[in-house]
């Protein structure tokens, strides 16, 4: 039974990861391309040049393909919260439900109104009304992403809530604290900026392909002109917010930071490993985790705490504890978590027996308005999730996965800044078309941008394991007790469905790119 439940947890995690990875193939391009289309359409409205209308309509067509294939894939994730993760969904209550509901309503109105005007309204509404609809689609898509990212940020940094013992749910005490927590705000800007950068790389890559084929040269050069500046600016914003993410992770998820740096022994003035090759798990030791590693002295301390001498806790500190640095051991946290679980069990037994006196006594411990409750909530309930763990080792996420994913993301991000900057500069001087190696590089930047984007989410999500909600609920408790076999069957059904849809999208996109802005040689742009 236990092994079947563990299988269920693993399959549920695999299924959620598969769905999220697939969903994220579409979202960043939707977010970024909508803005680029709006910019190009603005050029048309401002100049009256039909060239910009034709260009905007071409990119809008690719936006439409991506949007149509990707639309509603996020709904599967929401199903999975209710079915595979029902304990989690109930426990988080409206804190998680409210942002998702706002997003759902916003997406519905966005999709049925502004997008319809955007695609159907070219010759039916005025230029300004059409442009307004296009901009509202772009802004609405980003606002929609805000609420999803607020929900995700709360899982990594649960704030603005209190636990209601009677309903066994967390209740929101401050909407603003949830919606504007530093983690949520930074996550939004980092995610949206990186999505804008991905879309810019998509436009630059497709345009480079046209230049390589010596087709649509004016459209390609002008599109690169818009997208390379846009992408360069947002690549810098991505880097800036990524740096801020590192500083926030150091404070709220120190194990994630230690794991993605493969930092086993904490140290003051910790170096940042730029590149490295980890030893296999069996031969990796805390003192010598790398076959080879190249680091920058003190940089990790600077990036984490803005202080070159700051102490960055390692995996060892977080497991064994470090009293000098005020770090509790995992064993101590697990003991405190078990006290909290025991109190919940006592309340449950009292509730079943109708023992109101014991229920009231336990209730006082969960009441933040009393001094007893304040102490219990901060000293014991704050470690509730640790009470479900069997060993401290369960607190360590997959170090190689995080270490390499982080370097793929950051390395690719630096490369994107360089490539977009060079492409912008050469295009301005009308020297890009002759640099065929660079045009080919631009085409290859498209899959690399997707890889980097996915790697970012791997760092975020795999890095917070074992937590569904940081410190409060591990994934093993969050998962529903459903048969592992049914989750594994649906995993493969999803895999087949997603693969088919992905192949459909890529083939339709490629076909539309090959056709170009004018369908079958017609001068009139093809309608969606």
């Amino acid at each position: 039974m236990v092994s079947d439940y563990l299988q269920t947890v693993d399959w549920s995690r695999a299924q959620f990861a598969l769905t999220a990875v697939y969903h994220w193939l579409f979202v960043p391009l939707t977010l970024g391309l909508s803005v680029l289309v709006a910019i190009m359409e603005s050029c048309w409205v401002r100049t009256g040049d039909e060239f910009w209308r034709r260009t905007a309509r071409f990119w809008m067509r690719l936006f439409g393909v991506n949007f149509a294939i990707g639309v509603a894939t996020g709904l599967i994730l929401e199903f999975e919260f209710g079915t595979n993760w029902s304990n989690y969904s109930y426990f988080v209550g409206d804190i998680f439900g409210a942002p998702l509901a706002i997003e759902g309503i916003m997406a519905f109105f966005l999709e049925t109104t502004f997008i319809a005007v955007m695609f159907f309204g070219w010759d039916k509404v005025s230029r300004r009304v059409h442009l307004t609809a296009t901009w509202l689609t772009a802004v609405g898509a980003s606002l929609s992403a805000w609420w999803i990212l607020v929900a995700n940020a709360w899982m990594q940094y649960p704030v603005g809530c209190t636990f209601n013992l009677g309903s066994v749910r967390n209740e929101m005490t401050s909407f603003w604290e949830v919606a504007f927590s530093p983690v949520a705000v930074n996550k939004f800007f980092h995610t949206v900026a990186s999505s804008f950068m991905l879309a810019a790389l998509f436009v630059v890559g497709v345009s480079a392909w046209y230049l390589l084929r010596r087709r649509e040269e004016r459209m390609a050069r002008q599109s690169i002109g818009v997208a390379s500046v846009f992408g360069f600016v947002f690549a810098l914003v991505t880097a800036f917010t990524g740096d801020r993410s590192g500083a926030l992770v150091a404070r709220v998820q120190p194990m994630k930071l230690a794991a993605l740096e493969a930092l086993y022994n904490g140290q003051a003035g910790a170096p940042l490993t730029v590149v490295g090759v980890l030893r296999p798990a069996g031969s990796r030791t805390a003192d010598d985790p790398f076959y080879f590693g190249l680091g920058v002295p003190k940089l990790l301390s600077v990036m984490s705490f803005r202080d070159a001498q700051a102490y960055v806790p390692g995996i060892g500190d977080l497991l064994a504890g470090n009293p000098k640095q005020g770090i509790l051991s995992a064993a101590e946290k697990m003991a405190r978590g078990r006290v909290a679980v025991a109190e919940l069990a006592r309340y449950r037994a009292a509730s079943e027996a109708g023992d109101r006196r014991t229920m009231a006594a336990v209730g006082r411990k969960f009441d933040p308005a009393t001094s007893e409750g304040e102490e219990f909530l901060s000293e014991y309930f704050a470690y509730l999730g640790y009470g479900y763990l069997d060993t401290p080792a369960q607190l360590v996420p997959n170090v190689p996965l995080l270490f390499y994913s982080f370097r793929v993301m950051v390395g690719a991000g630096v490369l994107f800044i360089v490539v977009l900057g060079v492409v912008w500069w050469l295009n301005r001087r009308n020297r890009l078309a002759s640099k065929r190696w660079l045009l080919r590089t631009c085409v290859w930047m498209i899959p690399l941008a997707y890889l980097a984007s996915q790697a970012g989410w791997v760092v975020t999500e795999a890095g917070r394991q074992p937590w569904a909600i940081q410190n409060l609920m591990p994934v093993g408790v969050a998962a529903s007790k459903i048969p592992g076999a049914s989750v594994s069957v649906t995993f493969f059904l999803f895999l087949a469905l997603f693969t088919a849809l992905f192949v459909a999208e890529v083939s339709i996109l490629l076909r539309q790119i090959k056709i170009g802005p004018d369908a079958a040689g017609n001068s009139k742009p093809q309608k969606l």
Binding site: A68, A72, E80, F91, V168, L344, A345
Partner: protein, 68 residues
């Protein structure tokens, strides 16, 4: 008011009629939604807490939180 509604309806009807690539995309969207709502949702994603009252749901989750 009726004239406005009629214009909105015609806007959508004309838009759908004039689609070329959009027909393929709508077919994909509809097939996808059918698979998600009619197949996966009904047969593979039963909601474990659905149909229970609020106290029953709380008791069920409390059991999960304390019985593992």
């Amino acid at each position: 008011m009726m004239a406005f509604l009629r214009r909105v309806v015609f806007f959508y009807v004309d838009g759908f009629r004039a689609m070329t690539l959009g027909r393929t995309l709508w077919a994909i969207v509809l097939v996808k939604l059918f698979i998600m709502f009619a197949v996966l949702r009904l047969f593979f994603f039963p909601d474990l807490l659905a149909g229970k009252s609020a106290p029953q749901q709380a008791a069920c989750v409390l059991e999960q939180l304390t019985g593992i």
